[in-house]
C-alpha cells in the first residue's frame, strides 16, 4: 500500500518534504496562496467582463475594430515589468497596479476571440435565424454568442495564463501573493524557498489552465458548429 509513511522512509523524499514544510511555514504559503488567488480572481473576472463587452462593441461597430485591437496590441507589447512600473504613479504600490496590469494584458485575447467568434459564425445559421424572424439583437444573443462561446473560452484560457504570470510579478511591487514569497527567496538567496514557491506557482498555473481547458472542450462539444 502507498502511504505517506512509506514515502517518508526514502531519505531524499523525506528531505524534500521537510524542506517543503519549512518553506510553507516560514513563508506563510497558505496565506500567500489565498492572496494570490484573490488578485487572480478579481483580475480575471474584470478582464472577462471588459473583454467580452469590448468584443461585442467592436463587433457591432466594425469601424472601431481595427483601432481598438491595434491599441490593445500596443499594450500587449509593453514588457510586463515596464507596465507595472508605469502604473505605479496612478495606483501606488501593491495589489492595485498588479490587478490593473493583469486586466490590461488579459483584455486583448478575450476581446480578440469574442470579436472573431461573433464575426465567424457560419453564414447559414445567421441566415436561417433572420429568415425565422429574429431581430439583430436576438441573432446576436441567441445564435452568434452561443456559437462563439468555444472561441471566447479559448481567449479566457489564454487570459488565465497571462493573469497568473502578472500577479506573480506583483511580488516586485509589494502586492503580496506568491510573488512576495519568491521575492523573499531571491533577496535572502534561499534556494529552497525559490524552488518550492516556484514549483507551487507553476503547479497552480497548470491546474487552472487545465480546468479552463476542460471547460473550453465542454463548450466545444456543446456549441461546436462542425456537427
Amino acid at each position: 500500500m502507498w502511504n505517506g509513511g512509506c514515502l517518508s522512509e526514502i531519505p531524499i523524499i523525506n528531505d524534500v518534504l521537510t524542506e517543503v514544510q519549512r518553506v510553507w511555514d516560514t513563508q506563510l504559503l497558505s496565506l500567500r496562496t489565498l492572496e494570490h488567488l484573490y488578485m487572480f480572481t478579481i483580475a480575471l473576472f474584470v478582464s472577462i467582463l471588459i473583454g467580452i463587452a469590448v468584443g461585442v462593441l467592436i463587433y457591432r461597430s466594425p469601424k472601431l475594430a481595427d483601432p481598438v485591437l491595434n491599441g490593445l496590441n500596443v499594450v500587449e507589447t509593453i514588457p510586463d515589468v515596464a507596465l507595472l512600473v508605469l502604473l505605479l504613479p496612478i495606483f501606488g504600490i501593491g495589489a492595485g497596479p498588479t490587478v490593473a496590469a493583469s486586466i490590461l494584458y488579459s483584455i486583448l485575447p478575450i476581446t480578440r476571440n469574442t470579436y472573431t467568434g461573433l464575426a465567424n459564425v457560419p453564414r447559414e445559421y445567421v441566415e436561417i435565424a433572420e429568415a425565422l424572424g429574429l431581430n439583430p439583437g436576438e441573432v446576436l444573443m441567441r445564435v452568434r454568442f452561443p456559437l462563439a462561446l468555444p472561441l471566447i473560452a479559448g481567449g479566457i484560457r489564454i487570459a488565465v495564463v497571462f493573469t497568473m504570470g502578472v500577479v506573480t510579478l506583483g511580488g516586485l511591487i509589494a502586492a503580496g501573493g506568491l510573488g512576495a514569497a519568491l521575492q523573499n527567496g531571491i533577496q535572502l538567496y534561499d534556494m529552497g524557498t525559490i524552488l518550492v514557491t516556484g514549483a507551487w506557482v507553476g503547479l497552480l498555473a497548470v491546474i487552472l489552465d487545465g480546468g479552463a481547458g476542460v471547460i473550453e472542450n465542454r463548450l466545444k462539444v456543446r456549441y461546436g458548429t462542425w456537427s
Binding site: I128, A129, E130, G133, L134, P146, L147, Y223
Partner: protein, 375 residues
C-alpha cells in the same frame, strides 16, 4: 407585447416588374408573378436562374432594386421585416437547424421570443412533432447532430409551422435526401399539404418533384420567368424550346417500351424487412433507430405489405402487430414491362412498388425516379 400576425390568410402574393442585380449580373430581371391564395407554386430552374432570390424577396431577406412585392395588396416594404418573417414559415435545404439548440429549442425558438410560457411551448412542440410523425417523447431533447437527414427535415418543417403562418416558403427542402426518403417525404408532404391549407412557394430543380407537388409551376431561366402554368399546360403548350426540353414527356418515354422494371429499379436492403408479428411499438423503435420512413413485411398469404412510419405511430401502444397495419403494395416481377408498371402505378395513385425477382423482393420502383433516370 403580444404578437399579432400580419395576415391570417393569403389572398395573393404579387411580384411586379421585380429586378435585383449584383454588380452587372442580374439575379432576377423584370419578373412578374402572381401566387394565388391556397396554391402550391413551384419555382424551378437551374442553379443561378434566380429562383431562390425570388423566394427571398417575398420575406425581405433580399430587397429588390426596383419593382414591387406585395402580399394581399400591401407592399412588403411597409411591413417591419421581423414581423413579416414571423408571419411566414421558412424551410431550407440541409442545415436549417441551429446546432446549439435541441429539437424543442429549435421548434420553440420564436415562441419563446414571443413570450409564450414554458408549458405552452412544450405543448405546441409536441403537437408539431406529432404532426410531422416524430414521437415527441424521444425527440424533444435530441440535438440536431443526433438526427438523421429525414428527421432534421421534419423538424425544419415543424419549426416553420410553429407560429401557424398562412404562408410557407420552402427552398429545396428535400434536395439533400436519398431517393427513398425523398419519395416518402414528398408523399407525406402531399397529404399534409391539404391538411395545412396554406399557401406555399416551393423552390426545386427537380421537375418530377415539381409535377408531383405543384399546383402550378413557374419555370425560370437566366434571371427571368419563362413560363408559368399547371403541369398539363407546360406539357401540352410549352412556350419555347427550353420549356419543352424540361418537360417533354415524349422524349422521356421514347425508349420505355423496350425497358423492363429491373432496368430502372432501386436495389433493396434486407434491413427494410421486419417480422409481421412484431408489435407496432417495437417496430417504431427499430424504424426510428434505423432512420427508416417505410418498412415491409412478408404476409402469411405470401404477399408483401408496406408499413409507412406514420401508420406505426398511429398504432402506438394499441398492441397491434405489423400484420394488422400493413398496407397493400403494388408488386411487379423484375421482367415486367416498365411502361405497363408505370401506367398501373399512375392509375392506383401510388408512387412506389416492390419488385420481385422470382419469389424474392429485389428492389423498389419509384415512378418519379424512373422519369429522371430516362432523361
Amino acid at each position: 407585447m403580444k404578437f399579432k400576425k400580419l395576415f391570417n390568410r393569403i389572398e395573393s402574393i404579387k411580384l411586379e416588374s421585380v429586378t435585383k442585380s449584383y454588380g452587372d449580373r442580374f439575379a432576377v430581371r423584370d419578373l412578374d408573378l402572381e401566387v394565388r391564395g391556397g396554391e402550391l407554386m413551384i419555382l424551378i430552374g437551374r442553379s443561378g436562374s434566380g429562383k431562390t432570390t425570388t423566394l427571398r424577396m417575398i420575406n425581405r431577406l433580399i430587397e429588390p432594386d426596383s419593382g414591387r412585392v406585395s402580399i394581399n395588396g400591401a407592399n412588403v416594404e411597409d411591413f417591419d421585416p421581423v414581423r413579416l418573417r414571423r408571419s411566414i414559415g421558412y424551410v431550407i435545404q440541409n442545415i436549417g437547424l441551429l446546432p446549439h439548440l435541441n429539437v424543442s429549442g429549435n421548434i420553440g425558438l420564436i415562441l419563446k421570443l414571443e413570450g409564450w410560457d414554458q408549458a405552452k411551448i412544450r405543448e405546441r412542440v409536441s403537437e408539431l412533432l406529432n404532426f410531422v410523425s416524430l414521437p415527441p417523447k424521444s425527440f424533444m431533447d435530441r440535438y440536431p447532430h443526433q438526427l438523421s437527414g429525414g428527421q432534421q427535415q421534419r423538424i425544419g418543417l415543424a419549426r416553420a409551422l410553429a407560429m401557424d403562418p398562412p404562408l410557407l416558403l420552402m427552398d429545396e427542402p428535400f434536395g439533400a435526401l436519398d431517393p427513398l426518403l425523398r419519395t416518402q417525404l414528398q408523399d407525406e408532404f402531399c397529404k399534409i399539404k391539404k391538411e395545412l391549407g396554406k399557401t406555399i412557394v416551393f423552390v426545386t430543380h427537380d421537375i418530377n418533384e415539381a409535377f408531383k407537388l405543384g399546383d402550378r409551376v413557374a419555370i425560370m431561366d437566366n434571371a427571368s420567368l419563362v413560363q408559368v402554368g399547371t403541369p398539363e399546360e407546360l406539357i401540352f403548350e410549352p412556350s419555347n424550346e427550353l420549356v419543352s426540353e424540361i418537360v417533354d414527356s415524349k422524349r422521356k418515354y421514347r425508349h420505355m417500351e423496350a425497358l423492363k422494371v429491373r432496368d430502372m429499379m432501386q436495389s433493396l436492403d434486407s434491413g427494410y424487412f421486419l417480422e409481421g408479428n412484431m408489435p407496432a411499438e417495437i417496430a417504431l423503435r427499430k424504424m426510428v433507430d434505423a432512420g427508416l420512413e417505410v418498412a415491409f413485411v412478408f404476409k402469411e398469404s405470401g404477399t408483401v405489405g408496406k408499413i409507412p412510419l406514420n401508420e406505426v405511430l398511429k398504432a402506438g401502444n394499441t398492441g397491434k402487430s405489423l400484420n394488422d397495419i400493413s398496407k397493400s403494395l403494388l408488386v411487379f416481377p423484375a421482367d415486367a414491362s416498365l411502361f405497363e408498371a408505370l401506367t398501373q402505378l399512375k392509375e392506383e395513385g401510388e408512387s412506389m412498388a416492390l419488385v420481385l425477382g422470382g419469389e424474392m423482393p429485389v428492389g423498389l420502383l419509384f415512378s418519379d425516379r424512373v422519369l429522371q433516370g430516362l432523361v
